[in-house]
Structure formats: structure tokens, C-alpha cells
Symmetry: C2
DNA sequence: GTCTATATAAGGATAGAC
DNA sequence: GTCTATCCTTATATAGAC
């Protein structure tokens, strides 16, 4: 479909169809409802993303112990997300996904779980391989941080461009990877052993 | 106001007023519009958050060179956010803010800039003090990552609870700080010098 | 299959009684 | 100041002609 270019939620079907120059009724004819359209357009792209991640994962270089390099695993996770934002319509798709990822309502949640769970578990396994001395729980904590950074970057709120007066631009894929990958890798390494909880301050 | 307990956007004023047991018309009488209500309820709490951050910032311990410890700065930024989620209605407020932070529309953006810009710049200055050898731009990149982790934690998407089968719970404030603070601190330390951009893979 | 016209519902805001 | 009743707009979805 031509108008699969779009990815909006807070936007009406009238906006979508006007921009895509298709008739309002044809959407319901083909998809049945707005939510179904959303699921279709989000899902189709998300599947491509997952495939690319799995491809990069399976191509990971291994050291003599058969372990992947931590940085490579993180890049395999992040690069497909960030590169998708460069494709036509991709930036909107990413922003939409970042927003839907926050929703508590189960509608798109179930869809995301179905699409992403399997590959996310593979990523987590690869992270655990790269960090053989880390407790599994700490891998999850690190992955939580990685998800947060990924989502915020995809959302492109413009906040850091504003604060840095343009010195820092998260829409530049290579510049972003060059910072986030080492940041996250080093962050993971800090989780090797549980730290004592910081003392509450009064 | 009693119904300042809530923090919703995708929710109607009828829902809000029904839950708060106040009359629908009284909201417009007191606030003028739904957006004004949103701005008021979000803003009042956000100001408290900023005040608490500034309080912690000004109380930072300093080493003999007058530099704060990196971990302390990060905690001064994060702790007020996370602790607010334990107050009544605070979790909803946090989730709402996480959502609004993603919106591109300038309406709440301008408000957030007005509320948060000054204290964020102070945090960034403190980070730069704690990391005297880092280029300023790299401090911004690290702050971007910190913002992302904070937002995602506040949003409480439930994703990591699901993936970890409950082993990891970001609503536990102390457990979360015990992971995020060292993760972010070590992440910042990885940004000391610019890395070469990772080679694109095909 | 694609269009116009419309049914139906929901939400924000307000008028006006009390 | 607070309530009820209502206006007006907008949105999804569909019926039915072509």
C-alpha cells in the first residue's frame, strides 16, 4: 500500500488519508479499522527491524572462547533501529513506536510482545555470553537502560539538541552509535556485582 | 485541588471529573480549558521536582579539588524523579511526563523548557565538573542517555518486568538507583575521548 | 474497488438556572 | 461557585451508488 509510508496515532484518519491522497473509506475497506491499520503499518516495519537484528546477531564475530564482543552485540541491537529512521517515513515510524512503547494499554503491547520478545531474548542471551561473570538479573537491568536510551533516541524529542544548542544531534546515526555503544557497554560492565543501595539522603 | 491526583492526556475530562467526583463544568470554570488544567497539574509537581534537584545539587559533597563525585551528581538528578513515583498520584504524573516528553507538539514543550532548562543546565555543569577531562559535547551525549533511561524508567512500560519474568522491577526505587547510577557513571566515563564511528556493516 | 454521503458516538466547552 | 442541559466540532465507521 502506498500510504503505508505513514505512522501516526495522535493523528486522525482524515489526516492520514488526505496526506496519502487516498479516500477515507478505502482504509476501512482494506483494513477494517484504524487500529488494524496501525497494527499493520507498525507491524510490517517492525518485522523488518527484527529480521535485520537477527541477521546481525547471527553474524557476530566470536573470540577464541566463542564469546561475542559486548560492543558488537549492542550495535547489533541499536543499528537497525537507528538506520530505519533514515528511510522514508522511518522517522515517523520510530517516533510512533517510541510512543506506543510507553502506553500501558494492552492493545499494542500484546502486538509488540509477539513481535519483539523472541529477538529480545536472543539479544539478552548474547549480552550474557559477552558478560559471562554477570548475574542474569544484572543483564536485565542493563537491557532496561539500553531500551530506554534506544526509545528516547528514536523519539527524537529535540531536548538535547536544544540543551546543547545543536552541538549534539541524535539523528546522526553514526555519531549516535559512536557514543551510545561505548556508553552502554561500559555501563553494563559496571553491573558486574551488585552494589549496595545508595544511602537515602535527607 | 483534589483531582490534581490525576495525570492523564489520552483520557477525557469526563473521565477525570468522574473519578475525582467533581463536576465537569467546574474544571472549565477554574482552569479555562483542558490544556490549562494539564499544564497546571503537570507544572505544579514538576516545580517541586526541580526544587528538590537543586537542593540535592547544592548539597553535593566536594573533593579536595572542589569536584563533586560523578555518582552523586547522577543520583541528585535521578532520585527526585524516582521518589516522586512513590507519592500518591506520582506514578501517573511520571508516566504522563514521560509521554509528554515524546510529543513533538510545542505546547507542552515550551512549558517543559521553561521549567527544566535552568536546572538541567546546572546538572550538566556539575557533570562537567565531575568529568574535567571530557569535552563538553560528550557531556551532552551522556546526558541524553541519562534522560532516556530516566524517561523510560518513569514511563514504566512493564517491558523489562515481562522479559525478566519479574526478576527486575524498576518501580523499586533503591534497587533501580543501585543499578542506574553506576551504569550511567561508567557510561559517562567511556565518553572521555571521541571514538571512531563504528564501521557500517553490510 | 472506489467514491459520496451519512450514521453514530464522544469530547470540549458554555449558557443559564440555582 | 456549582450544577444540568446542551451546543458544536471532530472522528470512526458504514451504507449504498457507481
Amino acid at each position: 500500500m502506498l500510504f503505508a509510508e505513514h505512522g501516526f496515532d495522535a493523528v486522525s484518519m482524515r489526516d492520514i488519508t488526505a496526506l496519502a491522497k487516498v479516500n477515507l473509506a478505502s482504509v476501512n475497506y482494506h483494513f477494517g479499522s484504524k487500529r488494524a491499520l496501525l497494527a499493520e503499518v507498525v507491524g510490517s516495519r517492525a518485522h523488518l527491524l527484527v529480521e535485520e537484528r537477527l541477521r546481525l546477531l547471527s553474524a557476530l564475530r566470536r573470540d577464541k572462547n566463542g564469546r561475542p564482543k559486548l560492543e558488537d552485540v549492542i550495535e547489533a541491537f541499536l543499528r537497525p533501529s537507528l538506520e530505519m529512521s533514515r528511510q522514508p517515513g522511518g522517522a515517523d515510524h520510530m517516533r510512533l513506536r517510541a510512543r506506543l512503547g510507553v502506553e500501558r494499554v494492552g492493545e499494542s503491547k500484546a502486538q509488540f510482545e509477539q513481535i519483539f520478545d523472541a529477538s529480545n531474548e536472543k539479544i539478552i542471551d548474547a549480552l550474557a555470553e559477552a558478560l559471562p561473570d554477570h548475574p542474569r538479573a544484572e543483564i536485565y537491568w542493563g537491557f532496561h537502560c539500553l531500551l530506554g536510551i534506544q526509545n528516547y533516541t528514536m523519539a527524537n524529542s529535540g531536548r538535547i539538541q536544544h540543551l546543547s544548542r545543536g552541538a549534539c544531534d541524535p539523528t546522526d546515526v553514526e555519531a549516535t552509535l559512536a557514543r551510545i555503544v561505548p556508553f552502554v557497554a561500559n555501563g553494563f560492565r559496571a553491573l558486574k556485582r551488585k552494589r549496595a543501595a545508595p544511602r537515602p539522603r535527607r
